[in-house]
Symmetry: C2
Subunit: 169 residues, 2 copies
């Protein structure tokens, strides 16, 4: 447990939390193991769990085009990112707030050990300890805001490329 | 004040807050007035305030292409949305968490009355009253998550269109 805390305290979700507060969150978490090549979450499926990496590497894949709309690009319609425990990575964070379809598929590249937190358990803990709930939400909302800003920049770049291509036609 | 509370309690930021809690938040807010055609915030400028609409209508404009990259589309590079007090609209919510460049320009279409909340005042209040801080953050993060999901869908649509156009070349 103490070894896990020393790794997880570097996770952005736990920024500004005391060891005692981290211990409380781990108390509502499950330590889960996935084997090499196992799928941890699947894009489009509803989920309500967040994952923090303790050991291993995962691959994140996202659909880039609407299925069936563009058959010729099949096989190119995924983007891959690798996340590793060494980066103190986390994923599935939107699910901690709202049960919703996963926006990406995550697969174990190596054997992986993760801590899994469920939405209902988190919300219950937060309502018992508002200070802890507030601190975690503040960390979480900053991650989500930062992802939103990057995604907004992507749409501007895509629209720019599209407008240049359309002018060439 | 009571009339303002009866309007603002419909705002998503105040969901599940008691009248007493709303009053506390208004205590750290400033009631501000903008005249027709006045700019409330400008895309690209750094800001640290959130706005909740009490009266009037605003227009939201966003750059859609990178400046200078595509001269021929000048004039088409904005998208407009109108928000009104009747919709209990709010904007600038990311700024409540992190001082950052505004992602859109907002202009008053009619004379407007708004409540403005500053980041530092909000964070101070939240640390004095974690229950209130937690409830507001939970509402805020759900708004930001929902915007993120819509923006992710936009990038998928844009990539699909782009891949179809590129196949035609």
């Amino acid at each position: 447990m103490e070894r896990d805390i020393s790794i997880l305290k570097e996770n952005i979700l736990f920024k500004d939390l005391t060891a005692e507060q981290i211990r409380k969150v781990l108390g509502i978490s499950r330590k889960v193991v996935f084997s090499e090549n196992e799928t941890i979450m699947k894009e489009g499926e509803v989920g309500d769990t967040l994952y923090m990496m303790l050991e291993g590497t995962v691959e994140v894949a996202k659909k880039l085009v609407i299925n069936g709309m563009s058959d010729q690009v099949t096989g190119k319609d995924k983007v891959f990112t690798k996340l590793s425990a060494g980066q103190h990575a986390m994923f599935g964070e939107i699910a901690l707030l709202e049960e919703h379809e996963r926006t990406a598929t995550v697969k174990a590249v190596t054997d992986c050990v993760l801590y899994e937190i469920g939405k209902d358990d988190f919300l219950k803990l937060a309502e018992e300890d508002y200070e802890l709930g507030y601190k975690i939400l503040l960390n979480l909302v900053r991650v989500v805001s930062s992802t939103l800003r990057k995604t907004l920049e992507d749409t501007i770049k895509l629209t720019t490329v599209l407008s240049i291509v359309l002018e060439e036609l």
